[in-house]
Every structure is written in C-alpha cells, then in structure tokens.
C-alpha cells in the first residue's frame, strides 16, 4: 500500500490564511497606528521571537537554558561595538551580531554541554554572568555604567524621526517573521523530525540512529545566533546599553520562560499566545509595580501545575487545531489501495 505524508490540515490551511491577513494588517501598521502602537508592537515582536527561540531550545531540543540573556546582551554589545568603534551602520551590524554570536556559541556549547538537565540550566546562567561581568570591564563601551549609540549613526538610518520609526518597525516585523519561518522550516526538515523524536524520547531517538548530541548542539548554536540578532535590534531601538540591562535574567529569561509556559511549551503557537497574554497583563497591571511581578510568578506556577501544556496545549487537546502546518500525517493513497487490492 503506498502512502504519502502531508503537513497541512483543515485548521492549518485556515491558520495560514489568517496569518497572511494578519501579516498584511501588521505590515500596514504605520498607516493606522500611532508612535506608541508601533513601539508596543515592536516590543511584542521581539518577545515573540525570543520566546519562540527559547521554545525551540527547551520545548523541542529539551535544552532548558536560563542563560539566553548571554546572547541577547552579546548581540547588543556587538552592534554597539561596531557602531561606536567602526562607525558601521547599525542595521548592517544586526546580521554580523548573529554570525559572531553563533561563532561564540560553539566553544560555549563545548563547556555547558558537559552539564546535564538542571545543571545545564544553571551552567548557561553562569556563562551569561561571565559575559555581563566582562562587558562591564570594557571601558571603551562605557564599562559598568554603559553607553549610548552615536546620534549621527541613528540619523543615518532615515532622515526624519517618523521614517526612522517606520523602518525600525518593519525591521522588527521582518525579524520575527524570519525567526518563525526559520523554526517552521527547521521543524519540517529531517532535523525537525529528529528534534520531535528527541522531545518524545531521547532513548528511542538514539536507537533510531539520531545523533542526539550533535542535533542539540546544532540547535543551541542556531538559537544563539538568532537570539543575538533580536538582542541587537532591541538595544538599537533603546539607543542605550548597559551590562545590567543587556544581560538581565529577568527581562530576557524569566519573562521569556513565563510567556512560553503560559502560551504552551513545545508548540510553535505557544509563544505567540503567551506574548499576547503577557502584554495584556502588563498593560492592565503594570501600575501595581512589584505586585505585578509577584502575580506573574504565581500565574506561571499555577499554569505549570494545573495545565503543564499551557493555553495552546489545551486548545489542541480540546479542538485539535494547528495554525502552522507542522504535524506530519500519513495519508493512504486511495488509488494505490485499490490497485493493491486488485493484485491480491
């Protein structure tokens, strides 16, 4: 009996159509939104991208890192270094930040992959602390108190402030779309199949001939480069950098983990849903200050204990929806079945 494998389902076709409409609407945001809207949306895109990358690491490759702020900060510092020391246009420095950070991730992986499970997690955190303390020793970039991006380079992005806002907004949108596309293509490739096998059972994956360690290291390095590009963009938009802000464990890891877990870990839709929930909570409760963070911690714990698969996990369980065509489904070819039947 011959069969074929398909990724699409009815809900994913509807989902893709919805995505196309959403993308066009969001790409046109400079026409309908004000400056604040654009900034809020850019920030949301950055968090969707960071959370999606963390989800790829933890949800698919089983690499629970609490040190991804190492690459957010590294990417940001590389952008500032190129801009301040070499006068390179900041937008051109974003891909460079990605490539260099991915190269830095190779020896780092050699070290942290000696640790397993929880110890891997804290090991990655120490690497991020080493990066932070090293950055605060670099006096040409302002040492511990940080530095600003030169005004001339910012003006060179676009002549007027409004146009700069537009350009930065589209860069943010392009980055998040690129990250999501990268993840979808990766998951649909043979590496994706290997990753899902590893997620479900490392032992079974090894028995089926998957080089688990090599696959994980590859994902770690790709994620590091992409995370660094997002980090570089975030601090290009902020115009100022300091070691504590760039390597913040709260901003770039705690929030990212909470977003992923609330939305649904191990599913590509999870970080998107999680970011929407996170920002909705922030917009309504941020006035409460420390109590807001307290509640965020409590919400994350409650979700982890009550529905460990998050909001999107519940949707999949109850309704079987998928927005992105990722699920491999084997379909029997009916003509072939008929032919096989005729033969026997």
């Amino acid at each position: 009996m011959s069969t074929r494998v398909t990724f699409a389902s009815r809900s994913s076709r509807a989902g893709m159509a919805l995505c196309a409409v959403g993308f066009v609407t969001l790409a046109a945001a400079p026409a309908w939104g004000g400056r604040d809207d654009l900034q809020l949306l850019s920030e949301m895109y950055s968090y969707v991208a960071l959370a999606s990358l963390w989800n790829l690491l933890a949800g698919y490759a089983g690499l629970v890192s609490v040190g991804q702020q190492a690459y957010v900060g590294l990417g940001a510092y590389i952008l500032f270094a190129f801009a301040i020391l070499a006068g390179l246009p900041p937008l051109a420095a974003i891909p460079l930040a990605g490539i260099i950070s991915a190269a830095v991730a190779v020896p780092v992986a050699g070290l942290v992959f000696r640790l397993r499970g929880h110890y891997f997690a804290i090991g990655t955190w120490i690497v991020a602390e080493v990066f932070r303390l090293t950055a605060s020793q670099v006096s040409v970039l302002g040492g511990g108190s940080g530095t600003s991006l030169p005004a001339a380079l910012i003006i060179a992005i676009a002549p007027s402030r409004q146009l700069r806002d537009f350009v930065e907004y589209w860069v943010a949108l392009a980055l998040v779309v690129a990250v999501l596309l990268l993840i979808v293509l990766l998951l649909r490739s043979r590496y994706g199949l290997a990753l899902k096998a590893i997620r479900d059972s490392e032992l079974a994956a090894t028995c089926n001939g998957i080089d688990v360690r090599r696959t994980k290291i590859l994902v770690y390095i790709v994620t590091a480069g992409a995370t660094a590009m997002i980090g570089a963009f975030i601090f290009l938009q902020r115009l100022r950098i300091s070691p504590d802000a760039a390597f913040s464990v709260n901003d770039w890891t705690a929030f990212v983990i909470f977003i992923t877990v609330i939305g649904g870990i191990g599913r590509i839709e999870g970080p998107i849903i999680g970011t929407i929930v996170f920002f909705a909570l922030r917009q309504t409760l941020a006035d409460l200050g420390t109590f807001y963070l307290l509640m965020l911690g409590a919400v994350a714990i409650t979700i982890m204990l009550a529905t460990p698969k998050g909001i999107w996990g519940l949707v999949v369980e109850k309704l079987g929806w998928q927005i992105f065509p990722l699920e491999r489904r084997v379909i029997a070819d009916s003509n072939a079945v008929a032919r096989d039947a005729a033969k026997t």
Binding site: V66, G117, H118, W125, L133, G297, I301, L305, P308
Partner: protein
C-alpha cells in the same frame, strides 16, 4: 608574603559560607534530583527573618538562629509537601519553572515589604574581635566562627546521611523511589524532610551572610550561583567535596579581588569554568554531572 597569606586565608574563611550555600543545594539534588532556583532567595529570606527576629525581640543574630532555623525548616517541609512534590517526575521543566517562579515571588515580596535598602545584622563586639595567628596575620573571630560552623554543618549532614535511619531513607529514595515506597517509606514525607533539612542549613547560611555583609532583596541569585559552583567544583555526591569546592571558589574570588576589585566574582566564575573544562566530574567526585 604575609599579604598573600592573608588573601588566601580570607578566601578560605568565606569559602566556608559558600560551602553552606552549596550543602543545602546538593542535599536536595542528591535525594530528589531537584535543583532549586529559589535557593539563593531563600537564603535572603532567612536573613530577613533574622532581621525581624532581632528587631522585634531585641535578641542577637546568633540567638535568632534558634527561631530562624526551625521556621525555615517548617517552610521547607510545607513548600515541598504543598507545591514541589507535584512537580517531580521525568520532565525537568516543571521543578525548574516552579522554583524560578518562587524566586521571582520571594524577591518581589521582600522588595514590597522591606524596600531595596541595604540591611545588615549587628552582632556587637564579636564583629571586630580578631585572633593573631602569627606576626602580620590576623583573622576575625566572626569569620573563624562562621568557618567552624560550616565544617560542623557538613560533618552533621555527613552523619545524618550515613549513620541514621533518616539518612538511610534519603539514600533509599534517591537510589530507587519505587522500591523505597514498596519498603514502606512515604516518599512525599521523605522528600519534605530533605527540603526541611536543606532549608535549616539555608537558615544558618542566611544569618551568617547577614552578619558578614550588607544584603538586599536582589542578591539571592548570585548566592545560588556561588553554591552551585561550589557543588560542581567539589564534585557531585560528596559532602566533603562540596566544602573543598566552597574553599576553592572563595580563594579564587579573594585572589581575583586582590588583583583588581572588579574581578572578584569573575575570577570565581572563571575558576568554575576552568574546572568544568579540564575535570567536569569535579575535584572529589563520586558520580558524574
């Protein structure tokens, strides 16, 4: 020469404190494979409990241990019984995420109650008393006491683990939770007792930390990292190794700080990464990381 002897001696004495941070961490990892991200924040919580006890009752910080240690042990038992037991299993994300959430809750809770101001426990005359070892080399009585307590804590944990029925229960559940349960042990209770013991050690470490230096709600994560580094440097599964790991870390930091004050913490991290690179099983390992 005496200069360097002083530096290394200070490092060794601080290392005792790091070993106490580490002992509680390695105890619960050994028994239930749980890494408590909130460990450092619980140390800071103990420091604040001691602060409240000394201020409201007018007792000294060392006497406050009589209140803080049992209180933290009770918190540990309840925490494990009510929340953490529900996260244990094959998947390592739930305990990690839940303790991460706890860390955020404790930090911000302390921030709301006590503000971000620096605090310190005043221990009185003992703080400035020194002992002369030989010409040019003096050590403070308090660091010496703190080091002696650290050694005593490690020795006590070693005794509990290998010489008592409770220790046998810890080792049995660590080796095989299912078989331990079949032998009539209640794993949930055993795990809760392990957490209670861990937080009792945390309480002692927290009080000594608070006498030694200024503290505020944000310093917890760094204490977790020091404790973790001491565990890995010393080697998993060895309590005396953990003490040695604390000393190595303390001495590395002291040497770094002596060369350049900005390098204190960095030197400790680099010592940790160097040991991870050349001897990932740690200096005195029984098992592998």
């Amino acid at each position: 020469m005496t200069d360097w002897i002083n530096v290394i001696l200070q490092g060794v004495l601080v290392g005792g404190l790091y070993a106490m941070f580490a002992a509680g961490l390695s105890l619960i990892f050994g028994v239930m494979r749980l890494v408590n991200i909130a460990h450092g924040d619980l140390i800071v919580l103990a420091a604040y409990l001691a602060l409240v006890a000394t201020q409201t009752l007018g007792i000294g910080p060392l006497v406050s241990l009589l209140i803080v240690v049992p209180l933290m042990a009770a918190i540990g038992y309840a925490l494990q019984r009510l929340i953490l037991n529900r996260t244990l299993g094959e998947d390592l994300l739930p305990p990690l995420l839940v303790t991460f959430g706890l860390s955020v809750i404790i930090q911000n809770g302390l921030l709301a109650l006590f503000t971000a101001d620096d605090r310190k426990l005043q221990a009185g005359a003992i703080e400035v008393a020194t002992v002369r070892l030989f010409e040019g080399v003096y050590v403070g009585l308090l660091p010496l006491l703190q080091f002696a307590v650290a050694v005593a804590v490690i020795a006590a944990l070693q005794f509990v683990f290998y010489r008592t029925a409770l220790g046998r229960a810890f080792r049995a559940t660590a080796d095989s939770p299912e078989v331990a349960q079949l032998m009539g042990l209640d794993n949930r209770h055993v795990f809760a007792l392990a957490m209670a013991l861990s937080l009792a050690v945390v309480a002692i470490a927290g009080v000594f930390l608070a006498i030694r230096a200024d503290f505020d709600p944000s310093i917890g994560p760094a204490r977790l990292i020091f404790g973790f580094e001491a565990v890995i440097i010393g080697g998993l599964g060895s309590l005396w190794g953990t003490l040695a790991g604390g000393l190595v870390l303390g001495v590395a930091q002291a040497i770094g700080a002596h060369i350049n004050p900005g390098w204190q913490i960095l030197a400790g991290h680099i010592a940790f990464l160097a040991i991870l690179a050349v001897r990932p099983e740690g200096l005195f390992a029984k098992g592998r990381a």
